[in-house]
Symmetry: D2
C-alpha cells in the first residue's frame, strides 16, 4: 500500500451524489410531470452501467488474448470473466420485465419530449458490438434516411480505432489457428476425421437399407438426412469451398481455426482441451444471449409502440428483429455442431498425443 | 362430501409409480447407455405436464367466455388463470437453460435411436396452438415432403373439432364486440376520437414548424413520423380499409372488436374497464412468451444441431425461427399501441358514462 | 407544453457523463488495481438506482393513500406501481448471481480499502424500510458497539420525519379500517363468520370420528389439527386477545383492520373487492421478496466472507439472517391465511350487499 | 448397435400415456371439483421428475468419486453434471412462483382431501438429502408426535443402505485428503501459510496504529476485526481444536480435507487446481440453492397456510425455516472463506511445485 489507510463512507465510495442526482425528468421541465419517466431514465442508466462492466470484463479478456500465446491460467480467468458477462446479460434480458410495467399509454405521456434521443445513440453498446467483431459492412442500417452525427467525433474515432484493431472474434481466430495438435507426428487430424465420417455414413446407410421395421417413407427421410449430412461434411473437408464461403461472407472463421474448434469440441474431455472448450462455450452463450436480448427488446418495442416509428427515426420493431438474426458474431462456433459425429465413431488419439494433452502430475500415480 | 374420509399417501396421490417408471432409455435398450438421455426424456415429460396444466387453465377461461355475457367476477378469475399460464410459460423458457447443459456431442450419443420421434408430434402443443387461434392455413409447414400420420385419427378428430369451434381469439373478439360503450347516448366514441387525433396532429405539426432549437434534419424526421402516424390512424378510422386487411390476412380482429379494445386501452383507469384491460394484457403476455419460447427453442436447436436436419425431418432452426414470427395469435392487440394518443389529448367521457363505468358503491361517500 | 420543443441527445438525457464517470477504484488509488472492484462498485450503484425507483413508486402509492378515502381508480394505479416494485425486487434478488461471480479471494484483493464503508450506510434502503413501516424499536441492531454517525444529520432528520408520519403499513391499516361492509344492515360479518367456523369445526370433527378407513394415529393427528385451528379462530374472534397481542408486539394491524382484510380475502371474487384483494397481495409479495432478498444476501455474505466480520463492523451473516426473519412488515397479512375457511363453508352475503359490491352497469343486462 | 433400427413415436418414447393419465383429482372423486387441484398435482409431479434427474446426475458423480483416484477428465465430467443439478435447482426455486398463483382460499377447496399426504413423504427428496450427506442425527424432526411409516420397509432399507455407504460429503472428504501437495519436498503448506498469516496480521495492525486519518472509533473497530480474524486462524492452525469441533458437530470435514480445500481455493489459478476449485464451487452452489429453496418453500407455506399445521402434521413454516439453516451439508466449504488471505500476502509456491501443477504441454512453447 503506497497510500496511507484512510476511511471512506458508502455514499462517497459509490459517488451516490452523482448517481442519484442524474435523473432529470423532461416531462417535469415541460410542466407535465409523468410518473413513469423516472423508470424510463433509471432503467436506461442501469443498462449503461452494466454495459460499462461488460466492456471492462470483455476488454480484459481481449488483453489476455492479445499477447500471442495464451497461458493456461489465463484461459481460466477468461472463462470466469466471460461467465460474468453471461450472468449480466441474463439480467439485461430479465429486466425487460420491469420496463414492460410501463404501458404504451404511460409512455406516450412523455415520449414526445425525448425526440430524437434513441438507444441507437448508446456509444457503449456500439463499442460492445464492435469489440465482439461486428463490422460496419455487416451492420444493418437502422434508418433509410442518411444519419450522421449519432456519435461525437471523438467517439467515432474510438470506434474506428476499435474496428481497425483485432476484435474478440479475430483474437479467437488467431488463438485457434495456433492450436498445435492438428498435425501431430503421423496423426493428421483432418484426414483421420474424414475417414471416420465416411465409415459412419456408409454403415448408417447400410443399416437403413437393411432395416425391416421402418416404413419406406421413413427410410427415405433418413436417407435424405444422411445426404444432407454428407454434403455438410464435404464442405468442411474441402478447404477451397470454405474459402469461397468466407469470401461470400457466409463464414467468418478461417479454415484452420474452424478445424481447431472442431478438434476442441470433439476431444474436450482431454484435460488440456477442457478449458478451451468451456471458453468457446462462453462465446456461444454471449452470442446467444445477445440474440435473446435483441428478440425480447424487439417484442417490447412492438408492445409499447406498435408500428410507430422510433424516437430516433428507426423503423422500430422490424429493424430490431432483423439485427437479432444478422448481428450474430460467433455463428461459425454454433455451426461446429453440424460437423460433429458420435463419440463411438471418433478416431482414437495416439497414446503419445493423449499424454501431451494431460497434466505432468497425475493423481492416479499419487 | 359424498364419499367418506379416507387417507392417502403422497406417492399414491401423485401416482409416482407411473410417473417415475416412465423413463426408458433407448440407448440402454440398444446397449449403448448414454447418460444424458435421461435428461432428454425428463425435460420433455416436464414440458408435457406443464402443457396439460396450461390447457386446463386456458380451457376453463374459454368455458367462461363461451356463455355469452361474461360476468365481472369471471373476468377476475380469467385474469388469475391466464396469469398462471404466463408464469408457467416463463418457466418453460427458463428451463431451456437446463437442456443446454447437454452438449451437441452428448446428444449425438443417442440421437440416432430417436428417429423419427419429434417435438412436432406433441399433440398437446398442437392443441394449445389451435385453442389459442392458430388456423391450419396460417401454419408454417415444417417439412417439404408430405407428412401424414403425425397424429392418430382420434387426435386429428379432436384437433378438427377444436378448429371448427371458437378459439380463444374468436371468443375474445365476440366479447369485445359486445362492449356497449362505443355508442353511448350522444357520445360516439370513434367520432370523438377521430377529432381528438386530428387536433393532436395539427398542433404537433405547428409545434415542429415553429421550433427554433431543432435542426432541419430533425424537423424532417419529426414531420415524417407525424405523416406515418397519420396514415395509421386513417386506416383505423376507415372501416373499409380495415376489412380489406382482414381479407388479406393482415388483421384478425373485426373492426368493432378492434375499436372496443382501443377504448379499453384508452380508458382503462375507469373501474369497470380495469379488469378488461388487464385481461387483454395477459393475452399479449401469453403471445409474447410463446414467441420468446420459440425464439429460444430455435437458438437451442441451432446450438445443438447446427444445420443438421431435425429427427422428425424438419429443417430445424429455420423452421422454428419462422414460426416465432408467423404463429403469433394476438398481433392485433399488440398493434393497438399504434393507435394510442397521449392522455392529455383524449376526448373527455361524459359524466353519465363515467358514472356507468364506476361501482354502485363509492368509498368516497362512505 | 409550456416550453418550446427542443432536441435532446441520449447521453445528455441520461446524464451519462455523470453516471459513467462515477466509478473510481480505491484499489487503483492505492496502486494495487483489482479487476473486480469495478463490479463491486457498479453492482452497488445499480442497487441504489433501483432503490430510487422503488421509493418513487412506493412514495406515489403512499400519497394516494394519504388523502382519506381512496378512489377505486387509485387502487388500480397502486396495484400497477406495486407490481413494478415487485418486478424490480425480483431483479434485485436475481442479480446476486452476478455478485457471486466475484470469488472470496478476488474480494480480498480490495476489501481492505473499503473500510468502514458498508451497505448499512445506504440511506435509501433505510428510507425504504422506514417507509414500509419498520420501527426503530423493532430493528435488529447490527453491531454490539454503539454506532453513531451512520447517517448525516440531514439524513437522520428525514428518517425521523418519515418515522413520525404514516408508513405504508399505517396507511393500509387506516384504509382497511374504513371498509364499510363489516356491519351492513342486519349482516354482522364477524358474528356470521363465527357461526360458520363453528359449524365447520363441528362437522369436521364428526367426520373424523365416524371415518372407518383411517388409522387411529391419523384420527389423533386430525383432531389435534382441528384443535389448533380452533384456538387460532378463538383469538381472532376475541378482540381483547387481539389487543393483548398488539401490545406484546406480536401483531401490528388493529382488530378492525384485520377483520376487514379477512373479509376482503374471503369475498375477493365480488367485483368491488377484487382490486383491494390484489392490492393486499402485492404488499405480501413485497414483504416476501424483501425476505428472499435478505436470505440470499446473507448467503452471499457467508460465501464471500465466511465468519469474517463485515466492513462496517456488523456480525455479517448472522445479522442479515436475523433481519430476514424479524424485519418483516406485513406479517399480519400473511397470517390472514390462518383464518380462512373453505368457500363451501362461507356465510352467504345478503343480496343487497352483493349488489353494492358490484358495478352500476352490468354487461349481463346489455 | 446390437438391435436393429426401429422407429419410435414421440408419445411412445416419452410414455405420455402414463404421464398424462396420472392426474386424478381427489376433489372430483369427492364430487367437489376444485380447479386448482390439477396444478397442485402437476407441480408436485414435475418436482419428482426433476428429483429423479438430480439423483441420476448426482449418483453418476458419486460413482466417479467412489473408485479411489479420480481422473482429471472425470472432474470435468463431474463439474458438468453438478452444473446441471444447479440449473435444475434454479428452476425448482423459480417455479414456486407458479404455485403461488394458487391462493390460500383456492387451496382450502381441496386441502381436506389430501390428508395425511405430505411432501415429507417424498422418498426421492429424502434420498437426495441422504446422498448429499445429511445424517439421521442431524435431521430436524418435523413433528413432535412419533411418526413411523413415512416410508415403506423397502424404501427404508434403501435409505439405510445409502446412509451406511459414503455420501457425497464423505467422498469429497476422501478425495480432498488424497491431495498430494500439502507436503511437497521442503514445502510444508500449513507452516508456510501460518507464517504468511502472521506477517499479514502484524503489518495490518501497524498500519492501523500509524494511520492519521481515521477516527479512534474506527481504529478500535479495525483492531477488533483483526482480533477476530486472528482467532479464526488460530483454530485452523490448531489440529486439536479442529478435532474438538468435529466431535461437537460444529465441523464435518477432517482437518486434512479442510487444509486441502484451503490450498485449492488459494492456488486455484494453477492449471491443475482449476477444475478441483470449480468442482468445490459447484458443491457450494448446490448447498446454497437447497437453502434458497427451503427458504422460499417456507415462505410459500406461510403464505398459503399461515400458522395452520401441515397436512402431514408438521408444524409447517417454522419447521421448514429451521431446516433451511440446519440441513446445510457443505458448510465447511462455505467457511473456507474465513481462512483466506489476500493474494498479495500468499506464500509463493516453489518453482518445482508450480511445474507439477501445470500441463506437460505448454502452448507457450509451441
Amino acid at each position: 500500500m503506497d497510500k496511507e489507510l484512510s476511511s471512506i463512507h458508502y455514499d462517497q465510495y459509490l459517488q451516490l451524489q452523482k448517481i442519484l442526482d442524474a435523473q432529470k425528468l423532461r416531462s417535469e421541465e415541460f410542466k407535465e410531470p409523468a410518473h413513469d419517466e423516472m423508470l424510463f431514465i433509471i432503467v436506461h442508466q442501469v443498462y449503461e452501467l452494466w454495459f460499462k462492466e461488460i466492456l471492462h470484463d470483455l476488454g480484459s479478456v481481449m488483453d489476455l488474448f492479445s499477447e500471442g500465446a495464451v497461458e493456461e491460467a489465463d484461459i481460466g480467468i477468461a472463462i470466469s470473466r466471460l461467465d460474468r458477462v453471461v450472468k449480466i446479460q441474463k439480467i439485461l434480458v430479465d429486466q425487460i420485465d420491469i420496463i414492460e410495467t410501463m404501458t404504451p399509454l404511460d409512455f406516450l405521456d412523455f415520449r414526445n419530449y425525448l425526440l430524437p434521443a434513441s438507444g441507437f445513440q448508446s456509444f457503449q453498446f456500439r463499442q460492445l458490438e464492435v469489440s465482439l467483431g461486428l463490422k460496419r459492412d455487416n451492420r444493418i442500417s437502422y434508418t433509410q434516411c442518411a444519419y450522421s452525427g449519432v456519435f461525437s467525433q471523438k467517439e467515432q474515432d474510438i470506434l474506428d480505432a476499435l474496428e481497425s484493431g483485432d476484435s474478440m472474434l479475430e483474437l479467437v481466430e488467431k488463438w485457434l489457428e495456433r492450436t498445435p495438435f492438428l498435425q501431430f507426428d503421423n496423426f493428421d487430424f483432418i484426414e483421420e476425421y474424414k475417414g471416420a465420417v465416411e465409415n459412419m455414413l456408409i454403415s448408417e446407410e447400410e443399416a437403413i437399407h437393411s432395416a425391416d421395421y421402418i416404413t419406406d417413407h421413413e427410410k427415405n427421410l433418413r436417407i435424405r438426412m444422411l445426404g444432407e449430412t454428407s454434403s455438410y461434411f464435404n464442405s468442411i473437408f474441402d478447404k477451397k469451398s470454405h474459402e469461397d464461403n468466407l469470401e461470400k461472407g457466409k463464414l467468418k472463421l478461417s479454415y484452420k481455426a474452424t478445424i481447431s474448434a472442431l478438434l476442441i469440441n470433439l476431444y474436450r474431455d482431454e484435460p488440456l482441451l477442457r478449458q478451451p472448450f468451456m471458453f468457446l462455450q462462453k462465446l456461444i452463450d454471449i452470442d446467444e444471449l445477445l440474440t435473446t436480448w435483441r428478440n425480447r427488446h424487439a417484442q417490447m418495442v412492438l408492445r409499447t409502440l406498435g408500428q410507430k416509428i422510433g424516437t430516433g427515426g428507426s423503423s422500430g420493431y422490424d429493424y430490431l428483429k432483423t439485427t437479432a438474426e444478422k448481428h450474430r458474431i460467433f455463428y461459425d462456433l454454433h455451426n461446429i455442431s453440424t460437423l460433429l459425429i458420435p463419440r463411438s465413431a471418433l478416431p482414437k488419439l495416439p497414446a503419445e498425443l493423449k499424454k501431451k494433452l494431460n497434466f505432468t502430475f497425475s493423481l492416479r500415480e499419487e
